[in-house]
Symmetry: D2
Subunit: 380 residues, 4 copies
C-alpha cells in the first residue's frame, strides 16, 4: 500500500535552504516514516537560482512568487528558509491556506511578529515547527534524556556561549545576499536573534523558563559599507550580546554570543550544573557529551567524555556503527523525521511556533535590557 | 545537454552496502559531477533484503545472481560490498565484462587473490578503486597536503593504531551474517585485514612503502560458537595484530590493531613525526587535525588543534560553513566524487586495485611474521 | 660576603600559612636572591598549632600575640595569612612599625578597609604586596607577555570563571576554623571576595581597568548550622556571583564564580579575544596555555596548546627540563622571588596594596549591583 | 624525644642531583616521618660546583672523592645521581661499607652490572632503592590501586611510549657534561636505558613480568662532534627503540621511545586495556588519569578524566586542596617519604635494586633483539 505523501514547498535556496532540502531528501532513507516526502516546489526571488536548487535537490519545479506557491493544492507543507523579515507574512499566509508550516529560527524579528504567527497556526489548526536544529544533535538529545531521568537533582547553574569571529574585519560590508544578518531591519537583531536564540531554545528545553534578564550589548564596528547601495551606513545590529538571568526553577544563567571571538567559528557550548551531576557540550566536538556524576565512587570520579555514537544513543541506531560520527546536517534530518512521526502520532514534535515564541520573548527582553540597563522580565 | 550516465550495480546490502548507496546517491548533490549517477541494481543472496535495500535507496531493481547482474548492459560500474571471500570472483568477472569495478577493502583475502584482481582490471583496461575511505576524511586529506607541501622534512616516525572492543565477550558467536569478520575463511584474517589494512593504506599514501615488518599476533578467545552451525569451533582469526616496520624512506613504523581494547569503538589514530613538524589524527574526533610546527616562534610553539571545516580545507567548500562538522559517511561521498572526476580527467583516483595490492602485501607479511617470529620483507 | 637578611614573621598557620612558609623556604633554592630569607616567627591563636607549624617549617619561634610580634626588632616583613577580618588591623600596625607587609587576598573585607591599609603602607613608605598568586603561574605570566608584545590587537572580550563545588551539601556547617569563608562577617563576602577577586586581579592586570558592572548574586542554601555555636543561622555570604562589565579599553567582560558547580574543584579559567589573537587558560591544567593566532597561514590555523615548560618560558628556566610540570605551590615561590628582587631593584613587584585596592573596588561594585540590580561604576 | 637521623651523602650535582636534594629537603615538611633527614655531604668531580650545590641545598659539606665519602661514619645513606658508568662501583662500595643505597635509574649499564649491585646490597643486608620516580606521580599510583582492586579483569593490552625531540638537530654534540646520555660507553645505551627503562618499570609494576620481546632500534644521526674531543665520532647510542612483547599474564605489549618525535618534550604515556576497564596516563598532563569502566551504565559510559587532586587520592592529602596540582618534582619527594617509612615499617619500599634488575633484563633483551632481529627471552 502506498504511503501518504507529504508534499513540500520550500521558500529560500540559501544556506538554510540547502540544509532543509538535504533533510527532506534523506530522512526517509534512514528513518522508517509512514509518509513519503515529496519535494514539489522551491521558491525564491531569483528564478535561475531557484531552478538550480530544484535541479540539484530534485524538486519538481521552481517558482518566484511565494504567494502563488502557497495557494497551490499540491503543497501540504510550506517550509520557510527565507530571511527573517519574510517569516511572518509567509507563515501567516501558509497557515491561512491550511498548510503545515516549518520556519527557520528565529520565528519573527520580534515577539510581536512571532505572536501573530502563533495565532495564525493555532487559528488554522495546522502543525508548525521551528528549525532549532541543535536539539537534535544526538549528544544534546542525550543531555535532555539524562535531565529527564532526574540525574541532575536541583539545578544551580546554566551557562551557554555562541562564539564566532567572521565579522571582525572592518571592511566586511553589510546587507544584501549572504550579509542580511548584519542588517537589523531584515534580521531583527544581530547575534541576539541569530546565535543567542539557539542557546535560549536549548536552555529552556533543558531547564525550563527564563524569567528575568540583565544584558550587555555592543556594536564594535559602528559603520560598514552596504553591499547593495555602496554607501557607508551605521551598523544597526548588536555585534555582541551577553546576559545574566534567572530561571523559574531558581537556577542562574550566564549567556554570551558574539561574532568577535577570534579563533571560534561556531563555538556553541553549554553547561548545566546540578546537585548530583553536571553536563557540558560543545558544537565544535558535537559527537561528545561531557558528564560528571557525583554518585560515582569518590576517587574514581571524573568528567566522562561520552562518544555519543552507540546504538542506544538517541538517533544513532539509524546511522552507522559505534564510534563513527555523524555531523551538523543530521540534526536537520532528525528534525524532519520527528516532525513526520509527530504527524502520525498526533503528538506535535517540538519546538512548535508556540515554543519558539517563548525564545523570542527572552531575546526581546535581552535587547530591551541591553538598552535600558535594567533587569527585564520575560513574561514567562 | 544531458550528462553521461554512470549506471551502478551494487553487490551487498549490509553495513558497507548502505554507506556506498548513500554515497552514490549524494555525491552529485554536493559536487558538480559531469556524469549522472544512476542506481540501477542491488544484488544479494536474500532477495527480500535486496529488494528492501533497492526500495530504500532508489535502485531500479534488486536481484540475487551477481553473475547475471554483471552480464547486463545497463550496468557501467560494479561495486562490491559483499564479504571478502567474494571479492575476487566478482571483481574478475566484472572486469572481464568490461565494467568499472569498485571494491570494499581489503581487496583480496590474500595478496595472491589481489594480484589476480589487479591483473584482471589491467587486462580489461577498466577503472578500479578500493574503498579505503579514510583517505577522504578532510582532516586526513589535509594531512596529505601538508606532507606534499614539504612541511615535515625528513620523517623519523609513523605510528598508527586501530582499537575496538566489540569482541571481548566470550559468548559472542562467530561466522554468518554480521559476524563473518570473525571467520578467517571468509574474511581472510582478523584485525590485520579489517583494521590494519586501513592503517597501512593511509600510512603508505602519506609516507611511502613499508619494506619489512616484524609482527605479534594473538587470538585471545580460542573457541566460539558458530552462529550458523551452533557448534563450538576454534576461532581462526587474529584478535590482535601488532607490528614494527621500516619504511623505504628510513622512518620507523609502529602499528597495532585489536578488538580487545576496552573503551575504544573505532579508535583509528595515526601520528607522523618529521624533522620540522608532526601531524596526528584520531577518527573519534575526525574533524580535527593536530599539527605541531617547530618553525613557529619558540615560546609560542604548541600542538595546533585545526578544526578542518573551513572553505579552503579539502572538500569542505562543498558542505556547510566554517565550524560545522561533517561525519564518517562523507568520506564515501568524497570517494565517489573523486572517482567520477577521475573518469572525466582521465587521471584515475587512488587507491586503485594496484595501490590496494600493496597494502595486501604488507598484511601478508604481517601475518607471516606473526607466525614465524622473524622479520619479513613486503617486497615493496 | 654575607647576604642581607629578610626576616619573616608570619601570622596564620592554616592552608595559606603553609603555602607561604613553603614559598619563603624554597625561593632561595631556585632563584638567585640577594637577600637571605629567614623564617623567624609564626603567630597564631592556638599556641600548640603555631609551634607545630614553626617546627615543621623551621621558624625560630612561635607566638600567639601578633601585636607583640610586630613590635619585635628581629622581624623585617610581616606576612598576613590570617582570616580576612584581621587583615586591616595587622597590616596597619605592621606598616606603622615600619615593617614590610605581605597580605593574603582579598586585601580588606571592603574597599574601605583596603583604603586604610593602602594609606598606612604609603604613609610608612614600606613595601607591600598581596598574594594574588595566579599571576605567577608560568602560563599566566606568559599570557601577559604575549599581550604586552601586542599580539592581540584591539581586545573585544574577556571572560573568566572560578567554579567549585564544595559547599553543595546542605549539612555542611558554617563559621569557625576552616569554615570562616562561609561567614561574611569574617570573610567580607562569599565567592565574590574569595574567587572573583582572583579573576578580577588577573583580568585587570592583563586587560586594564573594569569601569562598570551589573551583577547577579545568590545564596542557594539559606541556613546552615554554625560550627562554633551549633545553632542554625542564616547564611550571610554569596554562594554564587556573576557579573557583566565594561573595561576602560572598550572590551566586554563576563565573570562568574560559584561553589555550586558540580564536578569542578578549582576551575579557574579565563579567555581573552583580540582582533588578531586569543588566549585561554584553565587552572585544572595549569601547565598549558591555549593560543590562537589569526596571522598563522589560513588552513593551518588552530588553537595551539602550549606546554609552558621550556627554558624560555617565564620562571621555567629555574626549574627542571622541558616537558616537566610544576604545580600550584610554585606560584607562591615565584611571588616571593619577585618580591625580593623588587626590593633589590627598587621597582616594587605587583600587586601592591594599591593594586589590590582596585580589585576591591570592583568587588564592592559587584556586591552593590547584586543587591540593587543596577549598573554600578567601579570608580576606576 | 629527638628523632633518629638519616644522614645523606649524595654523589652528583646535576639535574638529578637537584631533584634528589629537593626531595630529601622537603619530604619531612609534608610527610610525618620518624627519621629526620640530614643533608651531610654532596660529592662531585668539580669541587666548586659541589660546594655551590651544598650551599644552595644546605648540605654540611662538599667533597670530590666519593670513595672517601663512603668511608665516613656520618653517612647512613649513599645516594647516587652520577652518570650511569659510575653506578656500579659506587653502589657496591657503599653496600660494602654498610650504607643504605639509593641509585638513579637505570641501575647498571647492563643487567650484568646490575646483578653485581643486587648481590652487593643483598650480601650487605642494606636497604636499596632505585629512582624510578614515575611510580609515585599520584595519578600513576592511583592506576596501581585500581589495578590491585581488580577493576580491569583479564588484561589484553599494555602500550607505552616515551617521546622526546631534543636530539633532532644534527649539530648537537655528543658526550661530556649534560650530553653523556648520547655516549653509550657512559650511558650504557640510548633511549632504551634512559626512557624505555621508565616505561618498563611502570609496566611490570602494573602488569607483571615481560617475558619475551622483539625490537627495532635505530640511530638516525650516525656521527656527531664530541663535546670534549671536538672530533666527529660515530654515535654509539640508539636514538629510537621500539619493541613488541608478551607479558607473563598473556597480555601483549607495545613500547616505543625516541628523541626524534617533533613536538614532544617528555611525552611518557601508557595505556592498559582490561576485560572490564581501561586506564591511560600522560606525563604532559600528569595530574589526570583517564579511566573507562565498562560496568558503568551503557549509554553513560565514557572515558573519565580524573583530576587526581582529592584528599583520598594517593599522596594528595599531604599537599593542598582539591583541584590544585602538584608537579614532577613531587614524585621524588614521595619516593623519599616512602623509603623512610619503609625503614620504619621494615617493609622495603619498591623498587629495590632487585626490582630494578628485572627492568635491566628487559632492556638487555630489547637491545639484543634490536641487533639480531629475533624474539629474545627476558628470563623473567
Amino acid at each position: 500500500m502506498a504511503k501518504e505523501k507529504l508534499r513540500v514547498g520550500l521558500v529560500g535556496y540559501g544556506f538554510m535552504g540547502r540544509t532543509h532540502s538535504n533533510a527532506f531528501r534523506s530522512a526517509g532513507r534512514f528513518f522508517d516514516l509512514d509518509r513519503e516526502i515529496e519535494l514539489v516546489s522551491v521558491c525564491g526571488r531569483d528564478g535561475d537560482k531557484a531552478q538550480a536548487h530544484a535541479d540539484n535537490w530534485g524538486f519538481k519545479r521552481a517558482e518566484t512568487d511565494w504567494r502563488r506557491m502557497i495557494r497551490r493544492k499540491d503543497i501540504d507543507l510550506v517550509d520557510i528558509a527565507a530571511p527573517n523579515d519574510m517569516h511572518k507574512d509567509i507563515a501567516i499566509a501558509a497557515a491561512k491556506a491550511g498548510k503545515m508550516v516549518m520556519c527557520e529560527k528565529p520565528l519573527g524579528r520580534t515577539s510581536k511578529e512571532s505572536e501573530a504567527m502563533v495565532k495564525a497556526v493555532e487559528a488554522a489548526g495546522v502543525p508548525s515547527m521551528v528549525w532549532y536544529n541543535y536539539r537534535r544533535i544526538p549528544a544534546v538529545t542525550f543531555a535532555k534524556q539524562l535531565i529527564d531521568a532526574g540525574k541532575l537533582g536541583r539545578v544551580y547553574h546554566y551557562r551557554a556561549k555562541f562564539l564566532q569571529d567572521w565579522t571582525i574585519a572592518e571592511d566586511l560590508p553589510q546587507g544584501g545576499a549572504g550579509l542580511w544578518r548584519l542588517d537589523a531591519s531584515v534580521a531583527g537583531s544581530g547575534v541576539t536573534g541569530d546565535l543567542l536564540a539557539h542557546c535560549i531554545d536549548t536552555a529552556m528545553w533543558l531547564n525550563g523558563p527564563i524569567t528575568s534578564v540583565t544584558a550587555l550589548t555592543e556594536t564594535f564596528v559602528k559603520e560598514r559599507t552596504h553591499s547593495l547601495t555602496g554607501k557607508v551606513q551605521p551598523v544597526t545590529i548588536d555585534d555582541a550580546s551577553l546576559f545574566l538571568a534567572r530561571f523559574a526553577n531558581g537556577s542562574l544563567a550566564n549567556f554570551e554570543a558574539t561574532r568577535y571571538a577570534r579563533g571560534h567559528k561556531a563555538a556553541y557550548t553549554f553547561e548545566i550544573n546540578g546537585e548530583h551531576a553536571s553536563i557540558a557540550w560543545d558544537l565544535h566536538d558535537l559527537t561528545r557529551l561531557a558528564y560528571f556524576d557525583h554518585r560515582d565512587e569518590g576517587p574514581e570520579r571524573g568528567w566522562r567524555s561520552i562518544h555519543v555514537t552507540d546504538g542506544d544513543h538517541p538517533y544513532m541506531g539509524h546511522w552507522w556503527v559505534p564510534g563513527l560520527s555523524i555531523g551538523y546536517e543530521h540534526s536537520f534530518i532528525h528534525q524532519v523525521a520527528d516532525f513526520v512521526q509527530g504527524l502520525s502520532s498526533g503528538e506535535a514534535a517540538a519546538p512548535t511556533f508556540a515554543d519558539a515564541l517563548k525564545t523570542d520573548r527572552v531575546t526581546d527582553a535581552v535587547l530591551k535590557s541591553g538598552k535600558n540597563g535594567r533587569w527585564v522580565e520575560s513574561g514567562l
